[in-house]
């Protein structure tokens, strides 16, 4: 019982921290500070960098409700869309442009670049 409630409590804290993360999205410094203060375990990067035609990290694991931000650091444009073309699709991202998507539902999301489809990655969303 106590384990369960502790775990439920943790989830609540995590959810609160994540909503803060989403809320503070436009201010990365505030975002990092809030996340670190609330729950160190959630400090995993919710950013995916596009560098040299690769997504890094290639597999990103986040908790449900997390907003993931892709940043194009290549000298060439890319787009982001999920493998089934049903969940998300970015506009074309020129150098330094970014695209954000909030993952509400748990699951494994495979995605790729619509211009260079050999570029693939995964976001694993845990409850």
């Amino acid at each position: 019982m106590s384990t369960l409630s502790t775990s439920a409590h943790r989830r609540l804290v995590a959810a609160a921290a994540l909503s803060l993360v989403a809320f503070a999205f436009d201010s990365p410094i505030a975002m990092a500070a809030e996340a670190a203060a609330a729950i160190p375990a959630a400090a995993a990067p919710a950013e995916i960098s596009i560098d040299n035609f690769t997504f890094g990290p290639n597999v990103l694991t986040v908790k449900a409700g997390t907003t993931v931000r892709w940043v194009n650091r290549d000298d060439i444009p890319h787009t982001i869309l999920d493998k089934q073309r049903k969940v998300f699709r970015s506009k074309v991202l020129d150098t330094d442009d970014s695209f954000s998507f909030t993952f509400a539902a748990p699951g494994t999301y495979e995605y790729f670049c619509g211009l260079h489809p050999h570029m693939t990655g995964q976001v694993v969303v845990t409850p």
């Binding site: 035609f53 290549d74 000298d75 060439i76 074309v92 211009l115 260079h116 489809p117 050999h118 693939t120």
Partner: protein
């Protein structure tokens, strides 16, 4: 218009037979950046030597056309801060030719980001050559909000699907194909079933002795899958072309010269006018390649194809922008 003096020697000509493995490809690339004229008869290419010698052997009967590719208007990164200037230089080379080409083909990536002003700028420069232009889109030409609407509004008239079509000119059957739409995760370029069925039926009425020229943005053969350089279902398209005596496949996308001959089919990729890209496997990624500013125009250029009436021969000549 003579090309640079670093043309390959006789031994390099053997590289035409290079295999499609990585080592072979890298060997093939060693003659990229040079200007050589090839004639293709019955699928067997013969080098006629340097452009200056070869031109004399191309008779006035027949016709020629230009291939330009990958102009990437809108690109302003350090690898080429002036893509407008290099496209203009390419068109100026064409205007200066003693024998005007009958038309041009553009094998895609006209623009960098499919923006109206980029299409406008490209068209203004290209149209100044004063010859008809046949386009196929690159993946950079269909990244507008409506995924290709901007391209089709400009160049889609009389085309099918995402912009494919065929036409006849001087006894040669031309096919403009689109292999940049509906790309699949983890995959390469893609023609799709609808286009392939159209291709098969389009070719039904064409006699086997008719020379065929196919042009599309991404190479139809598998050049380097690690970088996505190839077309997933290209082999099916090529299977429809097996019965023809002379097939020439002209592509862009990889921003460098590459040529391969397989049976009756000659594959050739053109230089870009936008910016150079590295040879397969020689860089961490296929992104734009930085070269010294005074060398940039060695890596950019245009392609001329001469067709000799009745002989089934096509002669392909690549010229760097730095050639005068």
């Amino acid at each position: 218009m003579t090309d640079r003096s670093d043309a390959p020697d006789r031994n390099d000509m053997n590289l035409l037979s290079c295999a499609v493995d990585r080592r072979g490809l890298l060997k093939c690339m060693t003659w990229a950046g040079t200007g050589v004229l090839w004639t293709v008869a019955g699928g067997v290419p013969t080098s006629l030597g340097l452009i200056g010698d070869a031109r004399a052997q191309v008779p006035a009967t027949g016709f020629s056309f230009m291939q330009i590719s990958d102009s990437h208007i809108g690109f302003k990164r350090p690898e080429n801060p002036d893509a407008i200037g290099t496209l203009t230089a390419a068109i100026d080379q064409i205007k200066a030719m003693p024998v005007k080409p009958s038309f041009m083909i553009h094998t895609g990536d006209i623009t960098h980001l499919s923006r109206d002003d980029q299409f406008d700028n490209a068209q203004k420069i290209i149209d100044s050559a004063g010859v008809p232009v046949f386009y196929v889109p690159g993946e950079h030409d269909i990244v507008d909000e409506d995924a290709g609407k901007a391209y089709l509004e400009r160049y889609g008239n009389g085309t099918k699907g995402a912009g494919w079509y065929s036409f006849d000119q001087g006894g040669v059957h031309f096919l403009g194909l689109v292999n940049v739409v509906d790309l699949k995760a983890g995959g390469l370029g893609n023609l799709g079933n609808e286009q392939l069925e159209w291709l098969e039926s389009d070719l039904k009425g064409v006699s086997a002795s008719t020379p065929i020229v196919v042009f599309a943005h991404i190479p139809l053969w598998i050049v380097y899958p690690e970088w996505g350089w190839g077309t997933e279902d290209g082999a099916r398209a090529l299977s429809y072309l097996k019965r023809f005596g002379s097939v020439t496949v002209l592509n862009g996308h990889i921003h460098q010269l590459m040529q391969k001959v397989e049976g009756n089919i000659t594959f050739h990729t053109a230089r870009a006018t936008g910016f150079p890209q590295p040879a397969p496997g020689t860089a961490p990624s296929p992104g734009p390649m930085q070269v010294p500013a005074d060398k940039l125009r060695d890596y950019l250029g245009i392609t001329r194809v001469d067709f000799r009436q009745g002989s089934r021969e096509l002669a392909i000549t690549d010229t760097a922008l730095s050639a005068s």
